[in-house]
């Protein structure tokens, strides 16, 4: 039940956010092109993503590993 509520909540947030989108022209993307605005984790953070995947039961949806390799230490 709680899980369904969370999934519905995420879907609502995504839906509302994406509904309110405006078309941004290429010449208006000066802020969006800032390197801190990249929609990826930083390269230097890859190690943390890996050890978090080992030390926590949950992983994925962040560009990190979700399979492969042992990670058993």
């Amino acid at each position: 039940m709680k899980r369904n509520r969370i999934i519905i909540g995420i879907a609502l947030i995504v839906g509302i956010a994406f509904q309110s989108c405006v078309s941004v022209e290429a010449y208006q993307k000066i802020y969006l092109n800032d390197e801190n605005m990249e929609l990826n984790a930083r390269k230097v953070a890859v190690y943390e993503t890996n050890f978090q995947a080992y030390r926590e039961g949950a992983s994925g949806a962040n560009g990190g590993k979700t399979g492969g390799g042992c990670g058993c230490n």
């Binding site: 969370i6 929609l39 953070a45 039961g57 992983s59 962040n62 979700t66 492969g68 042992c70």
Partner: protein, 417 residues
């Protein structure tokens, strides 16, 4: 006169055409970029799974790696990621120590090295706004080998404000099973088991307005094969108080696992000095783990060349159905583990990073390819990141169980050729 005009017209057109094609031919390629990365990681806790959920979890890891990004032409790109992890682990030292007493014992299993490499070939069709990528990788350590292959497809909208990407990865792992010495039986170390993981990811990235963009990721992960770690001991509730006589077996988990992580990333350009980067993940798997993860990072531009970014991450998860602390599993349990990575925990990660990237780089010099390419090598930027990690157990009947402290220090030096 008319003939002459025609002649000049043809000449001008020909000239213009040749200029256009010359510009296309000599369109500048992106630079080859090389990242030298390095990480030092250290952890300590008192719930080593090798010892059945008790004993040291002390571990240190040194991990240098190299990412090379080579534009082959204006449409094709090749990326290689190579590195190794050199770790020393006090808990794996206990695999050959059945009585868990020899604190100063040193065996070959106390340290190991994992080598890995991943290759990603990408081809972009600018007219169709489609990018396809082909991935392959291999990872090798003493008792474990993993081979991976994958394919990715991404389609951008006409106005480049939206992108949908779909990708699949398959991992084929081979594990040489090393059981604790007293549970090794007659097979010794001559056991091999397979594990396969299949991962399907879809990501929708969307520009919301001039200062806000978001991405939503959904993954399906299916794992099959040997999912339990052979050298993890589990002690049972058999009424025996003497640890030497207590019933113990190696960890046993189902041979399939299905995971669904859903991630939402939201970046907002607050002003010329501050950017807000937010991340949330919901996670579910059929081992019984449900997790929520929040992360916020605030890059602050101190100068145009220097950015510092404090960050905070909070993670909370429920325990796997098969987890119980030391000595609490029933002898009739089908599946069992005392690995606190699968227990009920809350973790926090607090840290900061900084990136220094002057417009003309930190240094410029003639590199190994300068003669051939006519370009100088530029030491473009340096980035340092530190994270302090705390894990707190939240397990009933085991106060304090699962606590662990760790820290991580990483560097990234970027060069272009």
């Amino acid at each position: 006169m008319r003939m002459q005009l025609k002649y000049w017209l043809v000449l001008v057109l020909a000239g213009l055409t040749s200029m256009t094609s010359a510009q296309e031919t000599f369109k500048e390629l992106d630079e080859t970029e090389v990242n030298f990365l390095f990480n030092y990681y250290e952890q300590d806790g008192n719930n080593g799974a090798v010892q059945g959920g008790r004993g040291t979890e002390e571990l240190s890891n040194v991990a240098p790696s190299l990412i090379v990004n080579i534009p082959l032409d204006t449409a094709r790109n090749l990326m290689a990621y190579i590195g190794f992890d050199k770790y020393s682990s006090a808990s794996t030292d206990r695999i050959d120590d059945p009585y868990l007493e020899n604190v100063n014992l040193s065996t070959a299993s106390s340290s190991d090295t994992r080598f890995y490499t991943n290759i990603n070939y990408q081809r972009k069709n600018s007219a169709a706004k489609v990018t396809q990528s082909y991935k392959a990788g291999v990872s090798v350590e003493y008792d474990y080998t993993s081979i991976s292959a994958g394919y990715g497809f991404a389609k951008e909208s006409k106005d480049q404000n939206r992108e949908l990407s779909l990708s699949g990865m398959a991992y084929f792992d081979t594990w040489q099973l090393i059981f604790p010495t007293e549970l090794r039986g007659t097979d010794g170390l001559n056991n091999e088991k397979q594990r396969q993981s299949f991962n399907f990811t879809s990501t929708l990235s969307q520009v919301i307005n001039k200062k806000l963009q978001a991405s939503f990721s959904g993954e399906l992960v299916y794992q099959t094969g040997r999912l339990s770690t052979p050298f993890h001991r589990v002690y049972f509730n058999d009424g025996e108080s003497n640890i030497f006589l207590k019933e113990r077996r190696t960890e046993n988990l189902p041979d399939t696992r299905f995971k669904i992580p859903l991630g939402l990333r939201l970046n907002y350009y607050l002003n010329d000095y501050v950017v807000l980067r937010g991340y949330y993940r919901y996670y579910y798997d059929d081992f019984g783990i449900t997790a929520n993860t929040f992360e916020i990072e605030t890059p602050i531009k101190v100068f145009s060349t220097l950015t510092i970014y404090p960050f905070y991450r909070y993670h909370t998860q429920t325990a796997a159905d098969y987890f119980k602390p030391f000595g609490q599993h029933e002898l009739t349990d089908e599946f069992y583990t005392s690995d606190y990575d699968l227990s009920e925990i809350n973790t926090t990660s607090l840290g900061f990073g900084f990136k220094y990237s002057p417009i003309y780089g930190l240094a410029r010099f003639k590199g190994p390819f300068s003669k051939k390419t006519g370009k100088v090598t530029k030491f473009k930027s340096v980035e340092v990141r530190y994270a302090d990690y705390t894990r707190e157990g939240n397990n009933t009947n085991d106060p304090g169980g699962g606590d662990l402290d760790a820290y991580s220090l990483s560097f990234n030096m970027t060069f272009t050729f």
